[in-house]
Symmetry: C2
Subunit: 306 residues, 2 copies
């Protein structure tokens, strides 16, 4: 087996297409992932913006196998494997590691609230031990506004001490730059991904490794370009220009907005379908979203229907 | 098949025993359920206090089959089947209905926050249609302090209009009596369970059908006695006496406290094990809890080790 490389760069929590009967649409997912890779964007499939938590474990495993079977490089994949159940998390993670993924993005168990760092440590520890693989690379997923279960610096410190190799990094989706900064300072050289591209430049300047961002589903090329040129004099200009797109898109409900954009620019309206409890954009929102993108000269080069 | 009866009375979200390796302990669960039934307490297995959301779907289905195979009456069971995933919820619910359960206690999809009533309606609607059984009885599970996804009166109204037979009731675990009262007034004759016994008398007086309460795991007999005698002159005294136990127990972390009590009164310390992210009581908490119960002349008649 090849030497494991730590993941870095720009990854997208890949939106999951559904058929009319709400079954996952494997073909469209493979096509979108292929396009993302062509834009130098890694595949954080089964993230929050993938509606992963509206999928069953079987559906996730089936899709991951389909991506690998389609010839996409598992080393570029960081599937979300964190569930509220310990056993389900261990199962999905072990399955992903067997397929050779570069990392596993792991939510904390998110049903119970007010849980202690000791309980979270035991959870992650048990999962890592059950997976029991040298090739496991866990990326802790801090998104407290959704989970209500934060990943504290103290928890990270304990996990890194116990599993210095397996605990490879974090995705900080808190939207709180002070928190990302604290992580960068506390754990220099560690794999800190920002949860969006708005702070990508700052994250790289602080020693981070990249970003995992919803809007990388639609704007991967320019975000990667910023990542690749973060030391260049024009970096701030690149940052400003990806910000303009992000800031517009995030005024809409994110997941249906991303799907509307992929559907529109890929001339494939089937992409609009979301799984309950989400709902698609209204026709008015859809029109407004697309007009705003056009005004910002937005494009998705090379995208076409599956 | 027998005519379906609506569920009523006192149910317990049955605590789930684990072995040392954290696997569910079927034998101890069967024994505890048998004891609860002997105390006239129904089985809301896989509720919040059952650590259900720390179990995989397979584990839940296996345990439910074991309970049925042990000869316990499925009509007395109201398993929790609500997951954050649509497909998982439909699968667990269909499985439970096939086993003949009296009802299914259904959390809303609880990962995504700020979702609309329209999205929640679509979720429940899709699950009910996928299960597609005349025998399905859904009890909506309102526990916003944990899920952060409330079940609004407007949502209930829409669901009742669309599925008057399948949508059988609600468990209101909000701890907000004004909300329970509003449900009782808005939907007279409907199956409103309070989420604890502290308001059982008020709930019955207002037209409710019973309670589903964590502490029914340890104090089922007296709570049922209150339920059976809610119209009697001594009802307020019975209410006061179950309150004294509940108010003491709930000053401790609920799930580990319940397990400590079952373990102590059943002379079976193996019961103490919880699954991460929960942690068991400290020895000090344990001693304090048990001393307080003794001072309140607490007993669990007929309980013995599995």
């Amino acid at each position: 087996m090849k030497e494991l490389k730590h993941m870095q760069g720009v990854l997208s929590p890949v939106v999951t297409p559904f058929k009319k009967d709400l079954a996952p649409d494997t073909e469209r997912l493979v096509a979108h992932c292929r396009w993302l890779l062509s834009q130098n964007c890694g595949l954080a499939v089964f993230g929050t913006n993938s509606e992963a938590n509206s999928l069953s474990g079987e559906e996730r495993m089936g899709l991951l196998e389909a991506l690998a079977a389609a010839g996409l490089d598992p080393a570029r994949m960081m599937p979300g494997t964190g569930c509220s159940s310990l056993t389900e998390t261990a199962k999905l993670t072990a399955h992903a590691v067997r397929l050779g993924v570069g990392g596993a993005l792991m939510l904390p168990p998110f049903y119970y609230k007010g849980v202690s760092d000791e309980g979270l440590f035991r959870h992650y520890s048990e999962v890592i031990q059950r997976v029991g693989s040298e090739r496991l690379r866990v990326y802790l997923y801090h998104i407290p506004q959704v989970t209500q279960v934060p990943i504290s610096l103290g928890l990270i410190e304990r996990l890194l001490k116990a599993y210095p190799k397996a605990v490879a990094g974090v995705k900080d989706s808190s939207g709180d730059w002070a928190n990302t900064e604290a992580m960068l300072k506390a754990f220099p050289g560690w794999g800190v991904f920002s949860g969006n591209e708005l702070v990508l430049l700052k994250n790289m300047q602080g020693g981070g490794v990249g970003c995992i961002s919803a809007t990388a589903n639609v704007n991967p090329g320019p975000i990667h370009h910023l990542w690749a040129n973060w030391k260049a004099p024009q970096a701030q200009g690149l940052q400003d220009s990806v910000n303009a797109i992000r800031q517009w898109v995030q005024t809409f409900p994110m997941i249906p907005a991303l799907k509307a954009i992929v559907g529109h620019y890929g001339s494939d309206p089937a992409w609009r379908t979301v799984r309950p409890p989400l709902v698609e954009l209204t026709p008015e929102q859809n029109t407004q979203l697309l007009q705003g993108l056009e005004a910002r000269k937005f494009a998705m080069p090379g995208l076409r229907a599956a």
